[in-house]
C-alpha cells in the first residue's frame, strides 16, 4: 500500500497541481509535499501526490522494473476522462 511510482513532471498548473507522465500515461498529481519540484524533474507519486523528488537515472530504472512486474496500472488506476479531455 505504500508503493510509490516515479513520474516526470510535464507542467505545473493552479493549486499546486502538476501534469505528470508515468510510462506514457498522463495523470494529475498534487505537489503539496514537494513544493520545490520543477518541470522536467522526476518525483515519487503515491495516492495522487508527489512525495519526493528523485534522481532521473533511478526513476527510469524503477519504471523499467515496475513495467516488467506489470503493477503500474494497479497503483495509479485508469487515466480518468477529465484528463483525456484536457
Amino acid at each position: 500500500m505504500c508503493l510509490a511510482i516515479p513520474a516526470k513532471i510535464v507542467s505545473i498548473g493552479e493549486l499546486n497541481m502538476a501534469e505528470v507522465d508515468i510510462l506514457g500515461v498522463s495523470r494529475h498529481v498534487s505537489l503539496d509535499m514537494t513544493p520545490e519540484a520543477k518541470v522536467g524533474e522526476f518525483v515519487l507519486v503515491h495516492a495522487g501526490f508527489s512525495i519526493q523528488v528523485v534522481d532521473e537515472a533511478y526513476a527510469q530504472e524503477t519504471l523499467e522494473t515496475l513495467k516488467q512486474l506489470d503493477i503500474v496500472g494497479d497503483e495509479i488506476g485508469p487515466p480518468d476522462a477529465a484528463e483525456s479531455d484536457a
Partner: protein
C-alpha cells in the same frame, strides 16, 4: 555499489548473498515492517537464499491487515447512512469486519466507491453536491499526509459534503510495542522505505539507543533488501546497534519537512487499535479540533455493532511474527486468496497471501 543502477542486477545480488553468508555467525531474527517488503521478499525467494543463521519474519507492515475489526465495522456503518458515498482505497474492500465487508455492502446496494487518491474522493464531493462523501482514511505516514492535504483543501474551499474517517497509524511506536512484547523475539528491523521518505530517521533512533536493535531503512528492489540485510548483519556481528539508511536515493535523514508540516497541521497523535497488538498509545492520527467539521465521526451519529473476532484466524499473531502464516491451522485449508478468512490473506500485501502465492510452505 552505485546506488542508481543495477539494483536488480543478479551479479550484485549474488555478491551480497555471499557476503551475508560469510559475515553472519550469530542467529538473528530480522523483521520487515512493510507489506511491499513482505511481497518482494517472498516473490524474489530471498528467504530461501539466507544462511541458516538468518530468519526473516514479517511484521505489522500492511495497513489493511492491522486495521481492527471495530474500525471496519465503523466504516461499514458510515456506508449505511442514507445519502452517503463511502470512498476507499481498493485494498479495504474485501477485508472482513465482524459481520460484513465493504465489498458485500456494495453488492447489497450501498454506494461504496474505490478511489486511487483522496483527491478523487474530494472530486466526487464537488461533482455530486447532493451526496455526503465519507473518505475512509487508512494507511501509515506515507499516505496520511495525502489525506491531510485533502482535508486542508476541503476546509479552504468550504466543501460542505466531504468528511474523513481517520484510522491512520504511525509506525515507530508500534515497533516499541513489539520489542517490549515478551512473545516477540526480534533482533533487528528492516524499516519501511516510503514511510521513511516522510518521517526520516530520527523517530526510529530509540530502537538502537534504548533497545540495542539494529535497524536499517531499506528500499524495495531485491538488491536494496539484500543490502539492508547486509548492513544489519554487519552491525550485529560487530556488536553495533544503529539506525542506518540503505535507501539513500529516496530517504533523507530529516524526512520530508513539507509533508510533516501538513500532517502536523491537520492531525494530532491519538491512541490506535492494532489488530493482534491492541491499543498502542500515540500511534493513531486524530483530526484536530480546527478541522472537526471534516471529521466523519463528528458529522454522523452511528452505532457500530458489538465486535466479533474471526474464529480460528491467527492473523493477529502472524502480524507480530509470533506465528508464521503456514503455522495457522486455517492456512491453505479453509483460508486461501480465493476464499480468504482473515485480513492477512485478503490483502495482496498480507503475509499469508505472500506466503501462499510465492512459496509452497504449508502445502507440501
Amino acid at each position: 555499489m552505485d546506488l542508481n543502477t543495477g539494483f536488480r542486477d543478479p551479479e550484485v545480488a549474488k555478491r551480497l548473498i555471499d557476503s551475508i553468508a560469510a559475515t553472519s555467525r550469530t542467529p538473528v531474527k530480522i523483521m520487515e515492517v512493510c507489506g511491499t517488503h513482505t511481497v518482494a521478499i517472498a516473490k524474489n525467494g530471498l528467504r530461501e537464499v539466507m544462511p541458516d543463521s538468518i530468519t526473516l519474519l514479517s511484521g505489522p507492515g500492511c495497513p489493511v491487515c492491522v486495521t481492527a475489526n471495530r474500525d471496519i465495522d465503523t466504516a461499514i456503518e458510515f456506508g449505511r447512512v442514507p445519502g452517503v458515498v463511502l470512498a476507499t482505497f481498493g485494498d479495504m474492500m474485501k477485508v472482513p469486519g465482524s459481520y460484513s465487508s465493504l465489498a458485500r455492502e456494495k453488492a447489497d446496494g450501498r454506494d461504496i466507491r474505490v478511489v486511487y487518491s483522496p483527491l478523487d474522493a474530494l472530486r466526487i464531493a464537488a461533482d455530486e453536491p447532493d451526496k455526503q462523501v465519507v473518505f475512509l482514511g487508512v494507511g501509515f505516514e506515507t499516505t496520511a499526509p495525502t489525506i491531510a492535504s485533502v482535508i486542508r483543501q476541503a476546509k479552504l474551499q468550504e466543501v460542505g459534503n466531504f468528511s474523513v474517517h481517520s484510522v491512520h497509524k504511525t509506525v515507530p511506536e508500534a515497533l516499541r510495542a513489539l520489542v517490549n512484547d515478551p512473545e516477540v523475539k526480534v533482533n533487528a528491523f528492516i524499516l519501511p522505505g516510503h514511510v521513511s521518505v516522510i518521517i526520516g530517521l530520527e523517530p526510529y533512533r530509540f530502537l538502537a539507543s534504548e533497545f540495542g536493535v539494529p535497524s536499517v531503512i531499506t528500499g524495495f528492489e531485491p538488491v536494496d533488501i539484500l543490502q539492508g540485510i547486509h548492513m544489519i548483519v554487519q552491525q550485529f556481528e560487530s556488536g553495533r546497534a544503529e539506525v542506518e539508511i540503505a535507501y539513500k536515493r529516496s530517504v533523507a535523514p530529516e524526512g520530508n519537512p513539507a509533508a510533516l508540516a501538513i500532517l502536523e497541521q491537520v492531525f494530532e497523535p491519538a491512541d490506535a487499535d492494532w489488530r493482534g497488538i491492541g491499543v498502542i498509545p500515540g500511534t493513531g492520527l486524530a483530526i484536530r479540533e480546527e478541522y472537526a467539521d471534516l471529521d466523519a465521526a463528528k458529522r454522523f451519529q452511528i452505532d457500530p455493532p458489538e465486535v466479533k473476532e474471526i474464529a480460528g484466524c491467527q492473523c493477529g499473531d502472524v502480524l507480530r511474527g509470533v506465528v508464521l502464516p503456514f503455522e495457522c491451522r486455517l492456512f491453505a485449508k479453509s483460508c486461501t486468496p480465493e476464499h480468504p478468512i482473515g485480513p492477512c490473506m485478503v490483502s495482496s500485501e498480507g503475509s499469508c497471501a505472500a506466503y501462499y502465492r510465492f512459496t509452497d510452505y504449508g502445502r507440501s
